[in-house]
Symmetry: C2
Subunit: 360 residues, 2 copies
């Protein structure tokens, strides 16, 4: 264990030169059968393990990853995966891994496609992207395959497509979990509402999956006798409109006792409800935004589900690294934990996201 076995040791033991050992290790050919067997024997005997440090130094290669994600300036959510990608890139920069960012407007499939094509033309070693648009993303993956550029997906999976890996949340299950969390405060006959605060709800597959999950929970637990309704609302930036929307909802359903906000905009609801007369409402939402955390702490939000968006970016880069530099196997689908966050435990998650503890 102590003096690590080097290539020279096996060269000596098997009676050949370091060059031959190297050829065997890399399967470069030009090695006689006899020599190869001797070397393999010696490697097994001494339990040889190549020195990763020396190896990366000698390779002297560089791996260019281009990350294509929605513009974080138009949607603060994307700051988080971005920050995770940046952290990971700091951790692996010594190995010659370079990460470059390209952004596309959240709602523009055409710009998405155009940017992706430009990236592919620049011939990066890996493409890391968020395939928000199914059709265009399929095209991109096919072009990558044609040029032998491996692709890693985050946020949204394209199940049927060839890709190095997918790192993201399990939206359906997060809906199921929300059901569980909401049921604590409810009584038979109560109702809950799924609230989608988004512009183009039909395109937001995640939101629909979350709703499906929530409904699944309550249909698996029929004895709890909870009804589920759904309400979409686009003008969440307008406090006045929000307030009207909400009071309309509450007036229409007197037994509405729980809200499930399907994205990170819970705080919009509570901002709007500030003045409203209303019953005690159970509230479950997503993401540890400062505005949400304030309401969590004052117990106006009961639970936040943390989808670990920072980890999402981090883990995607690390998977690429593991695959291409360390040549390790990588899971095709990597779901991140769904953390249940309440006022009593949120501080740990915030600290983790700030991520003082960078690994290597």
């Amino acid at each position: 264990m102590h003096p690590r076995i080097t290539i020279k040791d096996i060269a000596a033991l098997s009676g050949v030169s370091a060059g031959t050992v190297d050829r065997v290790i890399h399967g470069r050919g030009n090695v006689s059968r006899k020599a190869r067997e001797l070397v393999e024997q010696a490697m097994r005997e001494l339990n040889y393990e190549p020195n990763l440090i020396a190896s990366t130094l000698a390779y002297n290669r560089t791996l260019k990853i281009t990350a294509l994600i929605p513009d974080y300036r138009s949607d603060p959510y994307w700051e988080q995966p971005k920050s995770g990608i940046e952290k990971a890139s700091l951790a692996v920069r010594h190995y010659g891994v370079q990460v470059e960012f390209v952004y596309f407007p959240m709602f523009s499939p055409s710009r998405f496609l155009k940017e992706a094509e430009e990236i592919i033309d620049a011939n990066p070693d890996v493409l890391l992207f968020a395939p928000l648009f199914r059709e265009e993303s399929g095209q991109i993956l096919r072009r990558c395959a044609a040029r032998k550029i491996p692709a890693a997906l985050i946020n949204t999976d394209l199940e049927d497509q060839e890709a190095l890996c997918y790192v993201g949340q399990d939206s359906f299950q997060s809906g199921v979990l929300a059901g569980k969390l909401l049921h604590f405060g409810l009584r038979p006959g109560d109702m809950v509402a799924v609230i989608n605060l988004d512009k183009q709800i039909m395109h937001a597959r995640h939101l629909l999956e979350k709703e499906r999950g929530l409904r699944a929970y309550f249909s698996r637990h029929p004895w709890e006798d909870i009804g589920v309704i759904r309400a979409d609302f686009e003008h969440f930036e307008d406090p006045q409109a929000m307030q009207e929307f909400l009071s309309g909802l509450l007036n229409a359903h007197s037994r509405l006792k729980g809200l499930f906000i399907s994205n990170s905009r819970s705080y919009r609801i509570l901002d709007a409800m500030a003045g409203l007369e209303r019953p005690r409402l159970r509230l479950v939402g997503f993401d540890l935004l400062p505005a949400n955390l304030a309401y969590l702490e004052s117990n106006q939000i009961d639970f936040l589900i943390n989808q670990n968006p920072v980890q999402q970016g981090y883990q995607a880069v690390m998977s690429i690294f593991n695959h291409l530099i360390l040549r390790k196997k990588v899971e095709r689908v990597q779901y991140l934990p769904l953390d249940i966050v309440v006022s009593e435990n949120y501080s740990y998650y915030v600290a983790k996201e700030k991520g003082f503890q960078v690994l290597v």
Copy 2:
């Protein structure tokens, strides 16, 4: 960005040799004021960052960490920190970090002290240990300080002592959290019991802290009107005795509706209650042992709190690595997240602990 700046580049720019640059970087002295300033100037100008890979290769040092933890064969809990330490050691082995394990019997301060002394005599580079016994651990830390061996603590902190870092759980807060989780199923006037299944409860500071936390939660929420009692029981291996203990407890307190099991032995309670007639009891416990998970899945345990024991070991080794190899600052106190685990989200945590995704 692309062609990384090397020591030669700054040597060229500042008009000195690589040797002098090296002396400046390491503050080895023997450099004229003028040369030093030129080099520093050039480093700033080119934004020089030493190549970690080349550096570790050239150092060719080895860092021996000895880990002293309770024997995992006598307490399965310790398999988890152990596995975390092993994982981390795999991740950093390329940097010359070697981890060696020494075990001590859970309940023997003298053996603990003896093993620690032997380790220190063997002169490791770092000592990583679980200071279960206050008095003896203080002695050990002082000996480490005298021999300039840095020490990292896991599981239990010695607040007043000099140490590189502490990685562990926040027991008090986990009790508070348990209070929050229990209260969901309770009504005013109900009672909860803290159940300590341990041999030497007075020595188990963590258990006492958890109880304090639970009581703190309910005294901060007096309107919930929940009474807290405590029950210690040592003979948890004996199903017959357990059953009598439990039925005694339930008979004595008719409004007992919640149990908080302060360590990982929740499954013992449920094993014993299998035949028992009993009201619907809310149950909160710790740790994702398979036996506990089975009860979680069948909803006989409502919540498990995950203290991330695997992470504990992992993070401790990584902190040592960050401090001594990467020369980064490390937080003195590192609390791990308190994950709330229910049947709807446990699978992610189990997958994480199995830890396919090893970082570097």
